[in-house]
Every structure is written in C-alpha cells, then in structure tokens.
Amino acid sequence: MKKILIAATAAVLVTGAGLLSASAADKLKIGFIYLGPVGDLGWTYQHDLGRLEMVKEFGDKVETTFLENVSEGPDSERSIEQLARAGNKLIFTTSFGYMEPTLKVAKKYPNVHFEHATGYKRDKNLATYSGRFYEGRYIQGIIAAKMSKSGVLGYIASFPIPEVISGINATMLGAQTINPNIKVKIIWANTWFDPGKEADAAKALIDQGADIIMQHTDSPAAMQVAAERGKLAFGQDSEMIKFGPKAQLTSTMNNWGPYYIQRVKAELDGTWKSEDFWGGLKSKLVVMAPYTNMPDDVKKLAMDTEAAIIEGRLQPFKCPIVGQDGKEVECKGGTHLDDGQVLGMNFYVKGIDEKIPGK
C-alpha cells in the first residue's frame, strides 16, 4: 500500500513539475533573499515593497520567489543556491552578511546574475547596490538642530560600520550648520532589530536630556517611546508616522522599487552588467517622508536642502571636514570626500564627544 502511495505521489509530482515548467518557461524568474520577515516594517519590508512594485511593472513577464528570515550564518549559502537551482536568473540578496555566500554561489553559477545589497565585493555576474542614506541624515540633522530645545540629540545606532558612522557624521554636519554647539548622545544597540532594546535605548537617551530621537535600527519602537514621552523623532527605513503621529518629523525611507525595475528591465533586454550602484535622493532610492510636526520655516529649510542635494548644489561631506582629533580630513574628491572615503568611514567629525566602539 505504502509503495503504491509513493509511486502515485511521484507520478503526481512529475506531471505537476512538467506542467509548471511549461508555463514558466518564457517568464524571467527572479529570486530574493530576505534577512527578516516581510512584516518587519523596516528593512525587509521595504525590499518586499520594491519587489511588489517591480512585479506590478512587468506583470506576466516575471515570476518572483523570496526566502525570508534567512540567517546570515551557514544557511544562507544554501538558500541562495536553492534559488539558483530553481531556475532564477536574477537573484537579489538583501543584507550585508550574504556577501561571501553570494560570491561563492555566483562563482558556481556563471549564467545567473546576482545583486548584493550593501556589500563591496563584485564579480562578472555579481553586482552591488546600496543607498546614500547619509543624504537623508544630513537633512535630519538640520531639522533636529532647529527643533531641539535642549541642544542634545539622542542617536540609537546599530553597529559601528561605515554606513552607520557616516550617518552620524552627516547628522552632525547638518546640525552644526544651524547650531555649532549641538551635542549628540549615542547608544549602540548592537542589533538591527530588537524592539525591546531599541525602546530602552530611547528611554535612556531621553533621560539623559535628549529631546530629539534618531535611530539607525529598524523597528518603530523608539518612535513609540518618543511619542509617549512627548518628544520628537525620526523614522527609519520606512514611513513610521502611524507609530508617532505627533512625534515623527520625517523618515529616511529606502525605496528599492525603481532600482529593481531598472535592473529587471536590463535583464529582460539582455543588457545587464555587473556594476556598483549607490543611489541617493536624486535617483529616488532614498526618499524623505513628508515633513511633519514642524513650523513652516523649518519645513521650507528642509525642502530647500533636499532640493539642493538632489541638484548637486550641496554635498553633505563638503570639504573641509575636521575630524574629532582636530585635524582636517584629506579631501580626495576635490570639493568633497570621495565615495571610497564615505564607504569606509571610520572616524567621527569634530563636535562628537564619544568614541567609536572597538577603535
């Protein structure tokens, strides 16, 4: 009996697989690897919104698959390879920790194109992409300095990697244009997503006198704490206004949709090339949520700054930049720091009293 069952199952499977492959043959199969669940309301959620936007654009021409909650440890290489083996021709791996596994799988599958978010290792069939989130942070710094009564900003940071360090520096450089004596208190949460820890950090910062909370972690917990305590805050990754309707000033949102559309189009046209894409406000990969809970003059200043960055009139890392040690930082980009200096940033600008952990 059991044998018959197995045989029947196998038969169903074989016919099923045959039908599937016939209908899917002319569709471009695209795979995504997500770090969190799609419902994290932060990093992964934004990637999934981008995927859905891309699917809407191409409709029947594409078929997408995602694997969520893929840990950055030993499992990720298998998950990526599974997508490649399942016939996906373009695979997006959306977290830094997938860098080595993506590289390994890309070497094994030269005919599949890979795209790794926020990494720095590329190959013939492996491109990288990320966002200039520091541009949004610069605007946030200006708003924060305008809105703060105590002159102390509270900053919840995740890990001391260049993306986070450059965000802190951009915030301070923006804030210093308004108030040269502005202070920032930083708490390292050592996590991207831990609502409990993030909320505790926000409370501690407020207790230390901060009246504006900004975060480089992914949950809306800090926004909720700020709202409860009657303080102001900035969202992260996504629109968080519903967690603090009276608290959110704006949010630096990651908008991956246009990039995914552009890359899938290239793949469909046969023009896909491995490259490094680093998009900011101008390419709409970074988008500011509506400016709320601030007077009109601050709102106007924020919008003007945003326009200036988009038009290239304003560079957040404009030289001269003075480091914490009082020495001027070498200016490799002519008028501003070059991309390499921002991508590898490992120093604080003058005006920050804290130390980078582990340095």
Binding site: L67, S71, R78
Partner: protein, 363 residues
C-alpha cells in the same frame, strides 16, 4: 473529578518501536489538512517536503551538511541526559569551540603554516568546548548550582565574547569595520568531499562520533555507569560509581563535541568567524537528542530527519510559495505528536473522581 496520567503496568516493545512512525503519520495527516486549508495540493506539498530532497544528489548533500552539527551536538547531549545532567548550554559550547579554533586560523592567517593547522584547530575547538562545558559541571558538583541555569546563561556570555572578538581584535582589517574576520586560509578550511558540492569532512567526523557514541554506551563500563547513574542513582551509589566524576565526564564530552561542531561549521560552510554562526544548533540539538531517544543511531536518524524538514521547507517556499512559518508549524506539530505518542505508550489517561489529598495540598 480530574484527569490524571497513570503509568502503564506493562509496555509493549513493538508499540514503542513504531511510536515515532505513528507520530510521523499523524503529522502528515495534520499537515495535509493544513496544506489543503492554505489552498495547496497536500500530496504535491508533502512530495516537495519529503520526497524531492531525497531523490536529488544536491539536496542529499545539503541534508548531510545541515545534520552534521545537529548530530554531533546531540550525541554529546544524550550522554549528559542519560547521566541525568541537564546541559542546556550546548549552543555556548559550540560558540566557544568556534572561537577557540578560529584563534589559530586568525593567528596563522597569511603565514606559510602547513596542513597541521586544521587538525590543530579541531583539537582546540574540542578542548575549548570541553572546558566551557566543565564550568557548569564543576559548579554543580562543587556548589550544587543548577546546571540548567548556569549552562544556559553561559550561552549569552559566549555569544558576547564572540561578538567582541569579531568587532574588535580579530576584525578583518580590510573589512570596512564589518564584524567578521577575514576568510580563512585554505589550510584552515575543512575540505569538501565532492568537488563543487558543500558536503565536507565534518559529515564523516559526525558518523565517527555516532559510532563512537554507540560503542561507548553499549560496550564500555563507563557507558554502563553513565546509564546507571541516570536511571538508578541509588543503585549506582551502591555499585560504588562516582556520580560526580561521571557528571564531569559527560559535560566534558558533550562540550568537546559541541565545540568541535562549532569549529567545523566555521572552518567549513561559513569560512570565517562572524556573529550569528549558529542558527540555534545547540538548542535544536536538544530536540534531536530526544527525538532520537538518546540513542546514537536514533539521533543520527532524527538529525537527518530534522534537516530534511529544513531543506524541504525551503524548497516548499520556492516551489509552492508555502510560507516559512508553515515549516515551523510543521516541526512543532511533529514534536507534539512524538511526545504525545511517547507519553501515551508509557502512561494512560485515567479519570479520578475523588482527587487524592496529597496533590490538592501541593497546589
């Protein structure tokens, strides 16, 4: 009136043997209903879960890769549990083993160190894990501290130590501050068995560990002592067995195996030290140990079976767009039925009309 579990006077060996099969059968039925409710064809869904991975060389390799750390850790844990020593901290011993072995890999990086590096790393991993496992064991035999609590709490200590090392002293200087060491040199890497695949030498080591565990328990006096100390502590005392010594031994072996599994995982599939090297292997292995009924061969089968549900679950996500959560529900239901079947073989329900006074006082 209350419902109590009463121990059955006699138990049938045949039923005990097929109980896991009954559990799996019940799981399959329940899952079929769940799949049907999700609007998926239950037969093809179960096929993707259980049959597809078994008829494909690539998936078989991946099952072995996934099962390797689970089986190694679970064998060690089974010795502890048989000796009535509750090591919950295998996850920490796994991490410390990974750290101890990685130390050598980091120190020899870029030098022309020979092929002795990998064996030395494995040894260091085992020693590191064993020493770390001995901490809760010594606290237990010396001070009577609950090993359940101490071994569990040491997991977090190990986690933070690893975190500190890869963010600070061992960080890849060319890694843009990201928390990881540089990729290990080839001499510090566990070799793969089949070119182009991921099956590595660790799989063979796991099989050796299973065989050694089976011999230890079935054929040696120490194995006998471990079993007696757990099953009948009074008899063991009369027999003159030193139960403290056995607890230390069980923890040391268990820690050593977890530690070696840790360094194999780091020097094998991962290739460098970073946070998050374990997706909870040390805890999942507890399930594997009990699913395998604390028997080495049983553990091997249980480890492979649990790995199969992971791989099958992933393929179901891809092929049928079945959410990952269903895989977790699936594993949960399986454990539920295994435990339920086990309980009902050893015990039976009984309605007690006048509840005994003793139990009333106990509440």
């Amino acid at each position: 009136m209350q419902l109590v579990l009463e121990k059955r006077a006699e138990r049938s060996n045949a039923i005990a043997l097929i109980s896991p099969l009954i559990a799996i059968g019940l799981t399959l039925v329940t899952m079929s209903i769940l799949f049907a409710m999700l609007g998926k064809n239950p037969i093809s869904a179960l096929g993707v879960y259980f049959i597809d991975p078994l008829v494909d060389g690539y998936s078989l390799q991946e099952i072995a890769v996934k099962a390797t750390p689970l089986v190694m850790i679970a064998i060690g844990l089974s010795l502890c549990y048989l000796a009535n020593a509750w090591n919950i901290g295998a996850e920490g011993q796994f991490l410390i083993g990974a750290v101890a072995g990685s130390w050598l890999a980091v120190k020899t990086q870029g030098t022309d160190a020979g092929p002795w590096v990998l064996p030395a790393m494995l040894l260091l991993g085992a020693v590191g894990g064993a020493l770390y496992g001995l901490i809760p064991a010594i606290c237990k035999v010396r001070f009577g501290a609950s090993e359940i609590l101490t071994s569990l709490m040491l997991v977090y200590v190990a986690d933070l130590l690893l975190d500190y090392l890869v963010r600070g002293p061992w960080r890849d200087p060319k890694g843009f501050n990201f928390p990881t060491t540089a990729e290990f040199d080839p001499v510090a890497t566990v070799p793969v068995l089949i070119e182009g695949g991921r099956l590595h030498l660790g799989g063979v080591i796991a099989l050796v560990v299973v065989a050694a565990g089976a011999v230890l328990l079935a054929k040696t006096i120490k194995g006998f002592e471990i079993r007696v100390v757990g099953a009948a502590p009074r008899a063991a005392r009369f027999g003159g067995f030193n139960s403290n010594q056995l607890i230390l031994l069980a923890f040391a072996i268990s820690g050593a195996l977890a530690g070696m599994a840790g360094i194999i995982e780091v020097a094998g599939p991962v290739g460098h030290l970073q946070p998050g090297i374990s997706p909870g292997y040390g805890f999942t292995a507890i399930i594997v140990a009990f699913l395998g009924r604390l028997n080495p061969i049983g553990i091997l089968i249980a480890g492979l079976f649990l790995a199969l549900t992971f791989i099958g679950g992933e393929q179901a996500q891809i092929a049928m767009k079945i959410p990952l959560d269903v895989t977790k529900v699936f594993q949960g239901i399986l454990l539920f039925f295994v435990l339920a079947c086990d309980s009902l073989i050893l015990y039976r329900f009984k309605l007690v009309f006048a509840s005994p006074k003793v139990s009333r006082g106990a509440h």
